[in-house]
Amino acid sequence: MRSLKYILIAIFCLFILQENLKANQSSFLVDKISKNLRCLICQGQSVYDSQSDFALSMKLLIKKKINEGNSEEQIYTYLKNQYGEWIVYDPELNKKNLLLWAFPLILFIIGGLLIFRKVFNNY
């Protein structure tokens, strides 16, 4: 009888621990996603940093979506569908921002060529 009591307590503790871990995981994911989203009101801040009403609502919605079983990628897609590419800090490569993505690479190649030429000429 006594051992049954201990087993039940152990199961209960394990259950609490598991629930706690789940909650921590979910809140970690909410923080991670909200850090990658632009605040709707204070446009220089992320949703994570902002304390505006809409940022708080967005964090709540992200939490709901995670609890419904949506993945990180699905949440980004959903929000992009509602607000456009603008909402994420890491925009996808497309025709409009091609130059923005390519420019650092072009500069890197030109710089590399210049250095290579300089070194090659010295020899």
Partner: protein, 173 residues
């Protein structure tokens, strides 16, 4: 000659960068959702402000020719300022106005309506603000014009102006 070419290239790059930044200075940096046209309205259900009855927005919209969804709150000053424009719009026969009460106290919301008049056919509540996010709103007040097929025809961010009410009338007629 080589030096001259590098000088010309450097100057043109500098001028190009200067023009880009100079033009950027005069560009409005506040986000405006331009690609909203004909987007389907997000489906949601919410409780009615007065009777606490669960109502589905699509059911509400589907049997009306045109519907306006107005996000408002009693604590929002621009909402008070735009209210008279909503009152005028509520007189249009082909138009139904649905209010979405954003993060508000029921008592204050009811007082707001009894003081300023009720332009709404139905007032739904959004106590935690998540419905407004699902709608793609980004501030209070915000107004969506929707057709029978649940397509968003227009979205007005901020206080609804008199000119915008004229535009709505023009779209409906």
């Amino acid at each position: 000659m080589k030096k001259k070419i590098s000088y010309i290239i450097l100057t043109s790059v500098f001028i190009f960068i200067f023009i880009v930044f100079f033009k950027g200075m005069y560009k409005n940096n506040i986000y405006k959702p331009l690609e909203i046209k004909n987007k389907k309205l997000a489906e949601f259900s919410s409780k009615d402000l007065y009777f606490n009855k669960e109502i589905n927005i699509n059911e509400l919209v589907s049997n009306k020719n045109f519907t306006i969804i107005n996000i408002w709150a009693s604590w929002c000053i621009p909402c008070k300022l735009e209210h008279q424009n909503l009152m005028k719009l509520s007189k249009i026969e082909d138009l139904t106005i649905v209010g979405l009460n954003y993060k508000d106290k029921t008592k204050n919301a009811k007082k707001f309506i009894s003081d300023l008049g009720n332009p709404f056919y139905e007032i739904l509540t959004d106590p935690d603000g998540t419905i407004s996010i699902q709608l793609g709103a980004y501030g209070v007040p915000e107004t969506f014009l929707i057709n029978r097929e649940s397509e968003i025809l227009k979205k007005y961010i901020g206080q609804l102006t008199f000119e915008q009410t004229l535009e709505i009338k023009k779209i409906i007629n």
